[in-house]
Amino acid sequence: MGTTFLPVASIVSSAGGRDGWMIVLPAFILGIPYGLMVLSLLSQFPNKNLLQVSEIVFGKGIGKLIGVLYILITGYFGGLLLGQVGDIYERSIMPLTPISLFYLGTIILVFYLCKSGIEVFARFSEVIFPLIILALILNLTLSISRIEPGVLLPILSEGVMPLFWGGLKVAPFVMEYILFMAGILAFLPTDMKEIGQLRREVWRAVFLVGILDMFVAFTQILVFGPFETTRIVYGLLVLGKMVEVSRTVAGVESLFLGVWLGALVIKISAFLFTVVWGLETVMNLKGLKWEIAVCAVFMGIAFGFVRGSVLISEISFVDNYLILPFTTIWILGLWGTARWKKGKNIRGN
């Protein structure tokens, strides 16, 4: 789930206007065939991540090239996400605090989480996930009083094509998840029963996250209207600021931000993991010093994009023009070639 719920409404409303919310779930469903392709490669190449599989299927040269691209893209994106933490906090609740403090605090936490291992990472996600769901539900339900149903009408007045383009903007979210799956594959069990369970989990995860993100987009469009939703990049934070219960609870955005920080930590850690796995697989660079080096690179990237609009457009650029095409082509090509080779009974080394 990561932090997709933060920008999703702005993205879909910019492409699909008042109907933008409709495209969220179908775009997420695109993740199902890709998830299943990855799991199919797991059963064919047990205990190997997709970078290792690429070297087997495409040969060393192309495999290494894919690995380098994987490291560069995930590393760059992880750094941008770190920058997003500072940006969100500085812009919303703590404008006077130096942004470097947010970078430093978050990267230390991310490093600690990654050092603790993949099992602790999974458990941390298990702790934070219910908090995210609870915060989202609270945020959305407490905004009901500000809803104006009229802004949704007329439905599909612009046709369905804007929805298609909107879907292409949401699809990278799913591909980020697929990139992480590509790396974590080596840690997953390989017997048929558990792969079956994983397949069911792919379906469940896509639908759960898709439906939640759809509701987030839906509520924001209902509250702000399509134009304002597009303009406000982090509409959910603004919703949090507007929450008011009687005269006791107001401006609880700071509390929600605590939960969003947890979500961001999970996402940045996921990308730190992917870079570390990539370095280990492709260049055989492993150990503490390389993990610290990756964290330093993340910090460097974050410092490179200090302020809001530049950072947001860079994240969108990486999502739309790097992650989406790279993952779409790589996974499809890898799965297809592996199937073809299996059919022909050709084995790599």
Partner: protein, 525 residues
Amino acid sequence: MLTKIIRKSTRKKRRQSSEPLCQNPSGNPTTLSKKLEDNRQAILNTFPKADDLVIREFTIGSEAPVQAFAVMIFGLFNEDSVNENLFKPLLSVHNNQLTGSTLEIIKESILSVSSVQEVQTLEDTVTGILSGDTVLFIDGADRALIASIRGFAARSVEEPSTESVIRGPREGFVESLGTNISLIRRKIKNPNLMVEKMTVGRQTKTSLAIVHIQGIANDEVVQEVKKRICRIETDSVLESGYIESFIEDAPYSLFPTVGNSEKPDIVSAKLLEGRVAILTDGTPLVLTVPYLFIEAFQNSEDYYSRPYLATFIRWLRWLAFFISTFVPALYVAITTYHQELLPTSLLISIASANEGSPFPTIVEALLMQIAYEILREAGLRLPKAVGQAVSIVGALVIGEAAVSAGLVGAPMVVVVALTGISSFVVPAFTDVTTIARFVLLILSSFSGLYGVMLGFAGFVIHQLSLRSFGVPYMSPLVPLNGSGLNDVIIRKPWWAMTSRPHSLSRNTTRQVDSLAPSPPENPGN
């Protein structure tokens, strides 16, 4: 879900514990001599300056007397019992009784002592003497008899002051290992209750016992406990805390991974859930492993009371833990950085109360917290009467006087008082909350709620990475185990708690289902 999958895949790779059990250090034992004088000299050489060593020489039989002597340490043996059950029968022996091996006859027919053991080495006799036993040497025998007639000043069984209850047994463990084992045996009358004794400490030779219920406790955990205790090679073990620090999983962690209790009913309940207990001679505190995070929020009285109140009190404990850890940090963060979170009227009240204070909120908070910790420590260590006086003076100084003098704001006193009281609601974590509170205070002082969240996440990650004897520290919360939650957030009635915690025991069935009370219908209706 991901946790479950990863755990399953890594479980197979996990190291299996199959090392041999603790072996006694193998030296060259000194065998006893058949000559009584040689043995006497050997004992005297072993205890060159021991004025409390008692060597009582005597003869057995009158016609052809057999020379003998008994060795014991003053104050460690029961004098009356030794006179009555050892010397009296021995001194009244007639020679016609001594046909065959004198030692065998004395052991089997003359001594009226429940435990008599035959030993062949000097080392064994020395251990017996030091343990308070009476050792009997007889001329012509290259063995000695160890008669267990111990008796030393000991406290009687009474209610432990640290774990007092309104409903439930009042008895507590004492400093005697034997008494403590018997207190558990009285609760669990089952031959599967395994008691294995060991000795640790080169100088102190402290006895300890590993207790578990075979068939309920996880064998791997039992082996692991033995393995960790066997590797302890230290001079002294004066309290169970020594053992704890040698065997715990995370020695640098704030969070304890070994539990302790002074109450036999609590230790028995833990044994019945599949845990292993470690009893140490000389201390009433019994260690239990594995120890999980949720145990700090459970209390023996929860299980003797009706479930509704027990559940409510348990929620209060969670709340108190939260308050004692987070409230000062949240107060500093909100009043310094996020005033928008407070309703306007409350914000005005706090601002007016803090108006005269010369210090920033964080300085106030640190000063007050440190003052409170000093007073708490002084109150605990001083004699009761003086301690109370300190508490009263402290309450006046850090409360009324500090506010009147305009040094701190009244809301800060409320926060510190609330925090202090809450920290005693979960006594197992009092030290954890104290340290965590200061860490969070400092984080919140320069980064507001971001810092609090950062600290919270850091503590969560740390706790998630902990294990206690192979069991995830946060289970059954994370990884989530539905059936394990029967006794975590709520306390179900006894008839509904049909299984033991899955993470602790392979034999998870505690009782049959359908034990819910179903009284017959009123015949009058």
